[in-house]
């Protein structure tokens, strides 16, 4: 019986069936559900690591020690784990090693639109790219065999529409692949220059063999049709092309996007008058085609930006105009994502905005602190940059500027890469104030445990990292804990800490309103004392709006967090049970 599975769940299933034994990842949309879907597979040693580099290294160690292993990440996570990636290609693997990387064309939930295929070329590895859930499972399984056969890590590239689309998958039993015996091999596993020089030779020989394999592998397939037009494509773009062009063109469907075949593509081009390369983001396949002397049409017809649609492809290849559609006469206001009702970050940003501070931001739900009306966050670059970039800002603008500057970073993000920035501040005599938004969970990606929550991925209790003790241990003397919903105390604390001439950490502690363990009750109501001053509107709470000139609280949205009660200057909002 076939099952409807998310692409991510199908990758998890494929790894399980391939006999994977160790999986270590850090969550990141759109890759998170791969690792989450493995929770029921008790044969697999599964973990959330503090960051992608650690996760990849755990998988690498397990592979060198003979177990089939995997690590999964979003595209920007691959930047974090790129260091070991390039060198594990030199050492090779013993047990099969697969790295799943999920790109996000269209940036549904990301800070950039990078194309991870470049990593396959740069690290001289192999990259497979499935286009639906059935291929997600099949390619993942095959990736482990390929990894062992060619003694290389194999990259599996996904994109949002493949990761987050469900399609039919046939489940099969798990293969019993024993852990291979561990053998000490200094020349292969210790990458100091003398050994690495030898291994680089092996890598180049391996790449030549893989390029040969690319000519004949069944990961790539031709679907020929009686047509003058041929299309070279892969992944989600293949599905859009099929939708748009059906049997009106021939296809060279690439399942292995690195290394790319040469002769097989040249042969395909001979059979069609015009050849298009249809690929989202960068002209990765197109540049290869041009380099081997093919005449193709690519980015002159298709965008470098965002996701493709079948309509765009139809227009570009067949000249078909899009269908006429009905549209609303009204100007439709956009609906950007917002912090939830009851979100503790709202309290924090309300205070930071009130104090007029410059806010060096980070990656998480709290990036939404940049959205109006709070619009408190000044910059967001990548995981951990709130801390280190704020130190740079202070260096550029001087100590007075630093007294109006804070970093905000979530508990999980602080574990990921905020702590190193804090060490830099202490070591190099900075005086920054870092606010750790400790909501007891990794929020944005949908509630994953992390080293500060006290639970493992399988919800087993574990030793909890003590944030206060950690900050003290790296040399921060001024560490305080405060609930941001206690607005007065929190405001006074922030004022005091930014004024200090030494580094300080404020742990703004309040659990995520969406956590099942958080029992918010009651609701806030506006009483007759309301002067309609709209001070509560400054919170940007989705439950509070103005109707017919009067402020109203929508009972179906309010969860009684009481933040508005605290900001009302006329005590006109009451909390009811």
């Amino acid at each position: 019986m076939k099952k409807l599975l998310l692409g991510n769940a199908a990758v998890a299933r494929g790894a399980y069936e391939a006999g994977v034994r160790v999986v270590s990842s850090y969550p990141g949309t759109p890759s998170t559900e791969i690792t989450e879907s493995m929770v029921p597979y008790s044969e697999v040693n599964l973990e959330w690591a503090p960051n992608e580099k650690v996760a990849a290294e755990v998988a690498i160690g397990a592979a060198i020690a003979g177990a089939r292993s995997m690590s999964c990440m979003k595209h920007v996570g691959m930047n974090v784990m790129a260091d070991p990636l390039f060198t594990v290609r030199y050492t090779g693997v013993t047990g099969g090693l697969v790295f799943c990387v999920a790109d996000d064309p269209g940036m549904h939930s990301s800070q950039n639109e990078q194309d991870s295929r470049h990593y396959a070329k740069a690290s001289k590895t192999v990259m497979l790219e499935p286009s639906d859930s059935a291929e997600c499972k099949a390619f993942t399984k095959a990736a482990f065999d390929l990894s062992e056969e060619y003694d290389t890590p194999v990259l599996l590239r996904l994109s949002t529409r493949v990761s987050h689309s469900q399609s039919l998958v046939e489940e099969e039993p798990r293969a019993d692949i024993p852990v291979r015996p561990y053998e000490k091999n200094i020349q292969k596993h210790v990458m100091m220059p003398a050994a690495a020089r030898g291994r680089h030779v092996v890598v180049e020989e391996g790449q030549a063999k893989l390029a040969e394999f690319a000519e004949t592998t069944s990961f790539n397939r031709r679907e020929d049709n009686a047509s003058d037009i041929g299309v070279i494509t892969s992944g989600a773009a293949y599905q859009y092309a099929k939708e748009a062009l059906g049997n009106q063109v021939g296809y060279f469907k690439l399942g292995m996007v690195y290394p790319l075949p040469t002769q097989a593509l040249l042969d395909f081009a001979k059979d069609y008058k015009t050849v298009y390369v249809i690929e989202e983001l960068d002209p990765f396949i197109e540049e290869h085609c041009r380099a081997i002397g093919m005449k193709v049409r690519g980015k002159e017809c298709f965008s470098l930006l965002g996701e493709y649609t079948a309509a765009q492809i139809k227009k570009a290849v067949l000249g078909t105009e899009p269908v006429k559609t009905v549209k609303s006469e009204s100007t439709l206001p956009p609906r950007p994502p917002v912090m939830c009702a009851g979100c503790p970050h709202r309290a924090t940003f309300y205070v930071l905005k009130k104090l007029g501070l410059t806010v060096s931001g980070d990656i998480g739900c709290y990036t939404l602190g940049a959205v109006a009306p709070l619009a408190s966050v000044d910059s967001t670059i990548c995981m951990g940059a709130s801390v280190s970039a704020a130190f740079g800002m202070a260096k550029a603008q001087g100590p007075e500027f630093n007294k109006k500057l804070v970093s905000v970073i979530g508990d999980s993000t602080f574990m990921h890469s905020g702590i190193t920035g804090l060490i830099d501040i202490v070591y190099n005599k900075g005086a920054n104030t870092v606010i750790i938004l400790d909501n007891s969970i990794t929020g944005m990606t949908g509630h994953q445990d992390n080293p500060t929550t006290g639970f493992t991925i399988r919800r087993e209790p574990t030793r909890q990292v003590d944030l206060e003790a950690l900050c003290h241990a790296v040399g921060v003397d001024r560490v305080s804990v405060c609930d941001p919903f206690d607005l007065k105390a929190f405001e006074a604390l922030v004022k005091q800490e930014v004024a200090a001439d030494e580094p300080s950490v404020i742990i703004a502690q309040h659990p995520c309103a969406l956590l099942k363990t958080v029992k918010l009750s009651g609701r806030c109501v506006i009483t007759d004392a309301c002067k309609n001053c709209k001070a509560c509107m400054k919170l940007g709470c989705p439950a509070i709006s103005v109707r017919d000139g009067k402020v109203e609280i929508d009972a179906s949205q309010c969860n009684g967090c009481g933040l508005c009660v605290g900001v009302c200057p006329f005590n006109a909002i009451k909390k009811e049970d």
């Binding site: 409807l4 939930s109 599905q239 649609t309 559609t325 009204s330 206001p333 109006a372 944005m444 989705p542």
Partner: protein
């Protein structure tokens, strides 16, 4: 021929359950099915769209403008936004609920007037008060299942197939209220 059902809502309104029930019913009917969702940041109160496509062999997981045979809208503004996706002669089922987006809350934009009238005029939309039907069923969160009920009525798939799918998707303690919500939606549907 591939059929297209689009579900639009405000992040947090629970379309994931609706698409799961729908997907299970359609597989049971022997179709090839693709369901595409967006997770992550947009689920925090943003516009959320789910595409359900079924037929003999489905290629793209996405529904594009002018292609939806049916649109299930959980909110009026989102229904207006989805209008261009409706196929000529396609059906639109809309929950009569308004949720102000942040630009309306901050006063930077206005919620469109006469949304319901426009939807009826332009798309012959069937508008129902799914929230009060869900409350009648004893579960205000079951708006999604009320709407699935209304959608079920518009298909020729038998009633039992839908209730079987609900039984296999919804946790035991919410099952009774969800079955009631489905029935109310089904009766309210045309």
């Amino acid at each position: 021929m591939t059929k297209n059902i689009m579900i639009v809502c405000v992040g947090g309104q629970g379309t994931l359950l609706a698409s799961r029930i729908l997907g299970n019913v359609l597989i049971g009917e022997g179709y090839d099915v693709k369901v595409s969702e967006v997770h992550g940041m947009s689920q925090r109160g943003g516009s959320v769209v789910t595409y359900v496509r079924y037929g003999e062999a489905v290629a793209s997981p996405i529904i594009e403008e002018g292609e939806a045979d049916m649109i299930l809208a959980f909110e009026l503004l989102e229904a207006l936004r989805a209008l261009p996706f409706l196929k000529e002669g396609g059906k639109m089922l809309v929950n009569r609920q308004k949720i102000d987006p942040m630009p309306v809350i901050t006063g930077a934009a206005e919620y469109p007037n006469g949304a319901e009238t426009e939807l009826v005029e332009k798309a012959n939309a069937q508008v129902l008060d799914a929230l009060s039907l869900a409350k009648t069923a004893g579960n205000a969160k079951a708006v999604n299942v009320v709407l699935i009920g209304a959608l079920a009525k518009a298909t020729d798939i038998p009633y039992d197939k839908w209730t079987d799918a609900i039984r296999s998707t919804v946790p035991e303690k919410f099952l009774e209220s969800n079955l009631k919500a489905f029935a109310l939606g089904y009766e309210g549907g045309k």
